[in-house]
């Protein structure tokens, strides 16, 4: 008996003390193990919000939409050197990389790419559950991965130029979670090809819903909208037309500002419930109730807003601001307008389609789309007409500048047009009679990779 017991103990010792694995094999109870369709579905219920979609302090300042949220502009400019000062004064000599220890956009978007999209794509093959649900989840993940890379490549690299994209430095296109591997930087061309390939993979699965489960989940409309944005950046206007037409079949509802006019003047507060707004294709934001406290620049207020803009001229949304230290400054006062600052709306489709039409010599059709937005924004309304492509593009640029105000897309689009060179914008910011100029080809249009990334990834040379 004793012998048996002894042998038993030895056996247990051998089986339990037989050396450590690098990673534990024990499956914790009650945790999401990401091995069933339901687990992966929960993972895709991500809150697309916060620092990953940061634009108020960087991209929107560069493009001169705003001075920032609460920023005393003269004090910042006369104060010690800082990233904010460099961006406000367009100081090309200022070493922005030194001030970028970390970058919320870089960390946040790659977090989504890996911890949401790549996890789903890696685990969906082996996960248990309804194969059709798994197909849908995979398709969603492909679109999420493509879209987050789209924001990243437009933020950290030059805009796409067919002539140089094969050699322009881009960003790492990350398709696999490998903690200790170096994700090499791809060229701009490679990044765009991979984004398109991901969208095609998503569409080929033919599993996305016509209407997504929520505004932070992917439906067919958003998949085609991302494709349209990628192709717009690649200047494939026929492709944009096709993709926008497909997307508009799922959602073509535009936000309408005219109902505000029927309210008494004092009650006209722009309101948008972010998650349920009907014009969302995909909802992502930096701050939930933003653009509250955003300070539009004098140039936006005086030169870009069309006369009769309902928000600006017929509501109380802008109030005088004591914060910027500039005469005549105003700020957005409404806390009930939850803007979609990082995702895509139907208006992105209208404007992308309009540009594609204008550029393929269908100017009246393009102007019609622009006017469909304008009629909902401007009172009294008069349609704009154009006879040449240049006139039409000028109208489009002005309309989209206000449509995309306080979001990522003025930065992305003006950078795109500047790179193309046909309709460039030289941005001039005047502060207390001093003019600061941002040339179309300035390196300021490309944000530096953060030190937290460059110190570990030797392939991440700056793209400017």
């Amino acid at each position: 008996m004793k012998k048996i017991l002894f042998a038993f103990v030895v056996l247990i010792s051998i089986s339990t003390l037989s050396g450590c694995e690098k990673y534990t094999d024990i499956q914790p109870k009650g945790k999401n193990l990401l091995n069933s369709a339901n687990d992966l579905d929960q993972l895709l219920n991500h809150l697309y919000a916060g620092g990953a979609f940061q634009n108020y302090d960087k991209a929107s300042v560069v493009v001169n939409d705003i001075y920032g949220q609460i920023v005393n502009v003269p004090n910042t400019i006369s104060g010690p050197n800082s990233l904010r000062k460099i961006l406000l004064t367009y100081d090309e000599a200022g070493n922005r990389a030194d001030f970028t220890l970390t970058d919320g956009v870089y960390d946040g978007l790659y977090l989504i790419i890996n911890r949401v999209a790549n996890v789903v794509l890696e685990n969906a093959e082996t996960a248990s559950g309804d194969p059709n649900v798994l197909k849908e989840l995979k398709a969603e993940a492909y679109v999420v991965r493509a879209y987050m890379h789209y924001l990243l490549v437009n933020y950290f690299a030059k805009a796409y130029d067919p002539a140089t994209a094969a050699t322009d430095g881009g960003i790492p296109y990350v398709t696999k979670i490998e903690l200790e591997a170096i994700n090499s930087k791809n060229t701009v061309k490679e990044v765009y090809e991979k984004m398109l390939a991901d969208i095609e993979s998503a569409l080929a699965l033919n599993a996305l819903r016509a209407q997504p489960q929520s505004s932070m989940r992917v439906g067919k409309g958003f998949a085609y909208a991302v494709k349209a944005r990628i192709l717009l950046s690649m200047r494939d206007y026929n492709g944009v037309l096709e993709a926008t037409n497909q997307a508009l079949a799922f959602n073509s509802t535009l936000e309408d500002h005219r109902p505000l006019l029927s309210l008494p003047r004092a009650g006209r507060t722009p309101t948008r419930i972010g998650v349920s707004a009907p014009d969302n294709l995909f909802y992502a934001y930096n701050g939930k109730i933003w653009p509250i406290l955003f300070h539009p620049t004098a140039e936006i207020l005086n030169n870009v807003y069309e006369p009769g803009n309902i928000f600006k001229d017929s509501t109380n949304v802008y109030g005088p601001s004591p914060f910027t230290g500039l005469p005549g400054a105003v700020y957005w006062t409404s806390a009930s307008y939850e803007q979609n600052s990082g995702g895509l709306n139907t208006s992105h489709l209208y404007l992308a389609k309009a540009e594609a039409l204008i550029r393929t010599n269908k100017i009246p059709e393009g102007m019609d789309l622009i006017n469909q937005i304008r009629i909902r924004r401007i009172a009294p309304y008069a349609p704009l007409v154009a006879t040449t492509e240049a006139q039409a593009m000028a109208h489009l640029q002005r309309t989209s500048r206000i449509e995309y105000l306080y979001t990522w897309y003025n930065f992305i689009d003006i950078k795109r047009w500047n790179r193309e060179g046909t309709y460039p914008t030289t941005i001039v910011r005047k502060v207390n009679n001093v003019s600061y100029t941002l040339q179309p080809g300035s390196p300021i249009w490309i944000f530096p990779f953060p030190i937290s990334a460059t110190q570990f990834n030797p392939t991440l040379t700056q793209n400017y």
Binding site: L101, L111, I113, N118, A453
Partner: protein
């Protein structure tokens, strides 16, 4: 490695140990390229080295054969420890986080104080700090290499000495300790006051900067008050506020008297012991005069207590 010894007819007993303990593959945070989706992970990624001596001595100065004879013996325990991190991924890159919350730096002890190098007040009374290149600045120091090491919180040396004297029923026991080689933020930052009201005021105001009193590190107050912005925040963590925390303290003194048997037997007691004890009297010695905080507690000293007692056994 150690030796035990017993000398002079058992009068001197002692042990001496030397150790050199190297820890490797300790758990620590390692930073990653954020494009992996994670900015850091906890893995076996740190090393630490502890080197030191431990000494224990006992010596009988006076021995006595009889119960009531004079005896005097002492014991001394002393230790020296040097602790340093041999390798770690320095995850703290923000100088304010390092000075405030601390962090691990290769080559320094585990629990270290970091601070900003104070450069004195400028000609207008505003605090200045040294930048890494040696120039003075009133601005915020942004880089991690502008932070300097100001010593460890943990004592390098410690010692405890116990003395016992007894004679004819009287006994005296004195227990004293010494801690040394460590540092603490021993002085609060002299925050400048704009308006000085009728209230209890800090005494550093007496040495405030004025155009005629420029040899001071206290900023101007009242009519000479100036807002110093980043300088004030940095002053909280200035190196001049870090002070050596070395001290010698008597932990307790116990004076006892056992009443002789012929007295105790009158009340049918086996034993009566009178005792007078003092705990935590004022520090005997500190390396630097501490006007603000006690070097042991970091705040108020432990209050002294006096105990008088009678023990009887029937």
């Amino acid at each position: 490695m150690g030796i035990d010894f017993n000398l002079f007819n058992h009068r001197l007993r002692g042990t001496l140990d030397y150790y050199n303990r190297v820890g490797t593959d300790l758990f620590a945070r390692k930073r990653l390229d954020p494009s992996s989706g994670f900015s850091s992970m906890v893995i076996n990624n740190a090393g630490m080295k502890n080197t030191g001596f431990e000494l224990s001595l006992g010596f009988e100065w006076i021995r006595s054969e009889s119960q009531n004879g004079l005896r005097w013996s002492s014991t001394l325990n002393a230790a020296y420890n040097k602790n340093r991190i041999t390798y770690v991924d320095q995850t703290v890159t923000n100088p304010f986080v390092l000075v405030d919350a601390g962090g691990f730096v290769t080559g320094d002890p585990v629990r270290s104080i970091y601070s900003f190098p104070f450069a004195g007040l400028d000609s207008t009374g505003l605090p200045e700090f040294f930048q890494p290149n040696g120039t003075r600045t009133k601005q915020q120091l942004n880089t991690i290499n502008s932070v300097i090491f100001s010593g460890s919180v943990d004592p390098k040396y410690n010692a405890a000495l116990n003395n016992e004297v007894s004679f004819k029923g009287f006994s005296l026991n004195v227990y004293a300790v010494y801690y040394g080689g460590h540092y603490f933020r021993g002085r609060p930052a002299p925050v400048p006051l704009q308006s000085i009201g009728f209230q209890a005021l800090p005494n550093y105001l007496l040495d405030s900067w004025t155009p005629t009193n420029t040899n001071t590190d206290v900023q101007g107050n009242g009519k000479f008050y100036q807002f110093s912005g980043a300088g004030l925040t940095q002053y909280q963590f200035a190196d001049i506020l870090v002070r050596p925390a070395d001290f010698i303290k008597v932990r307790n003194i116990v004076l006892g008297y056992d009443l002789p048997r012929n007295i105790t037997s009158k009340i049918k007691a086996n034993n009566i012991r009178l005792r007078f004890q003092v705990n935590n009297p004022k520090a005997l010695w500190t390396k630097q005069d501490h006007d603000y905080y006690d070097p042991e507690t970091g705040i108020m000293p432990i209050p002294a207590s006096y105990i008088i007692g009678i023990n009887t056994k029937f």
